[in-house]
């Protein structure tokens, strides 16, 4: 099965848009239980279910329209060279929705986050693009369908079509129609995510390649997937009972286990950087002093802190420059 087959199932036949422009906004998300390993490379079907919290205010706003001719991509007001990896990945995705070969898309994306910060902007980027396409073409898709389409662009984008806590079901069908994200009804107003932007000294390995290497060569891959299944249950329980210590511990442990599974691959996949390690040690010191703060890390050097509102002042003092996100604004 190809991405095109999935698009056909969801949208049917492609038509020209009725409107001039479509618009969409989506926040990026932080996976508390990570997506690291695929059961299908083409359709971005994950080996395990994952759980995230959307990072309010760290998102992408995308506007899209059509015109005759080649695609035109603009990121934060600047044209993206058509031959760049970014533009080509986008064009490949847009091919799925092109009603006629002569139709080009004009995509304008504004990232509402520190640019070049290595934050997973592909999650909010593809989610906002799918929302914008839905708006442009007037498909009137459900959240589940939007989530599936966003997944075809980037796995973690499937979770970014929602805010708050979001679960992405691994599913088991080969067409992936049962692999979509759903929001949890639980809110947690006191929850905070501190985003620490760390400049990487060297460019890391892309997450697609990192996952592939881990699955192929890490002796820990099978145990990693098992751990994810257990961690997901623990996290759902922690959210339902608002047990922050469990939420924090399991999120941190899950992130470290992901990095550990990747580190044991060959060639090794290492995302930790010197600058991130300083933050890690600081989190552990604070915990040692009795402050409930935990961290998570994705396939990049940035550290995300998890804590409750009452610790905000202390976190700001300890981590100058931290950006504090409220995933559940009033």
């Amino acid at each position: 099965l190809t991405k095109r087959d999935v698009v056909r199932k969801i949208i049917g036949s492609l038509r020209l848009p009725r409107r001039d422009e479509g618009e969409g906004y989506a926040n990026t998300n932080l996976a508390l239980c990570k997506y690291w390993g695929k059961r299908d490379e083409e359709l971005n079907l994950p080996a395990t279910s994952s759980l995230s919290v959307s990072l309010t205010g760290f998102g992408s706003r995308t506007r899209v329209s059509v015109r005759e001719g080649r695609d035109r991509v603009e990121l934060n007001g600047k044209p993206v060279p058509p031959a760049s990896a970014f533009a080509r990945r986008l064009q490949d995705f847009l091919d799925l929705f092109r009603p006629e070969p002569s139709v080009g898309f004009v995509v304008q994306t504004e990232n509402q986050m520190p640019t070049g910060a290595g934050l997973a902007s592909s999650a909010s980027g593809f989610a906002s693009l799918v929302l914008a396409l839905n708006d442009l073409f007037g498909w009137g898709l459900t959240g589940r369908e939007l989530s599936i389409l966003a997944r075809l662009g980037s796995g973690s984008a499937s979770r970014s079509v929602y805010d708050g806590f979001v679960i992405w079901h691994a599913g088991s069908s080969s067409d992936g129609m049962d692999s979509y994200a759903e929001p949890l009804s639980h809110r947690w107003p006191e929850l905070r995510v501190g985003v620490l932007i760390v400049r990487a000294e060297t460019k890391g390995i892309g997450s697609r390649e990192g996952m592939r290497r881990t699955a192929r060569s890490s002796p820990y891959y099978t145990s990693w997937l098992e751990k994810c299944r257990g961690d997901l249950d623990l996290l759902l329980g922690a959210i339902a009972s608002r047990d922050f210590a469990v939420l924090g511990r399991v999120s941190e442990s899950n992130a470290l286990a992901m990095h550990a599974a990747a580190l044991a691959a060959w060639p090794p996949v290492l995302y930790l950087r010197g600058a991130s390690l300083g933050g890690v040690q600081k989190v552990w010191r604070l915990r040692g002093e009795g402050h409930p703060v935990y961290f998570s890390m994705d396939a990049g050097p940035n550290l995300k802190l998890l804590f409750l509102d009452r610790l905000s002042e202390r976190i700001r003092a300890e981590f100058p420059g931290v950006r504090i996100v409220r995933p559940f604004p009033d």
Copy 2:
């Protein structure tokens, strides 16, 4: 079974020494296939066999004598406070060999390595102490017996009673009489080990505690032990056929997998430091440029480089301050 039982099996009844002083020298060693996990905590019996290369010139010279009264320990010419963790660990070990309660030992150890460098001086320390005790008491023990006694002090010390490549058999008996080190007959004159001393910003977790946490809580522990069994065979093959690419790759992969298994424990066990990561990235860059250099790391921040003599000049240029060891001097 206790350590005392093992000592009784090997030495029989304890007598006063005939000589005034005994002396021993042992090099520290670098495990290419790591010892990380015990099958018996009391006797330091390992869960898997391990393989090391001794680091010529990075060793300990120990002189020992007896006197009436309390033990006296001197490290690098300075008395060690009897209440310190170091002195108490030594006193506990010396208790095993005390012919009468009133007998005290005078132990003088000189470490021939950068002090405070976090190099595994317990390996060379306990090995040299056992050699010195054998000399003092005139036990006339075999290498195998010396290795078992050294193991009672520190697991990795069992390998330090020999030079060159050394295998430490895990064994399976509950008294550990089949868990001893043996030298390999293979030499590899061109092999070099570059020791990079890295100052740690924060003190790491001791290896005893690190192993314990890994065994108890890491989801990767079982796979780690399995990997070790496979890696050992690969390393023995690489040594027999002088295949440096395999020796380097398997050594680096084994070290990273050990650190990864520890990182996935809870509470997490992290030995990597920012300063070590810089060296890691440099090794990978050099390899990317076609230079066959690999690294290993133990439960500390220092990096050990593995390469062949013809790369020595390049290594010296890339890593100022590197100490280059020839494990097989002419």
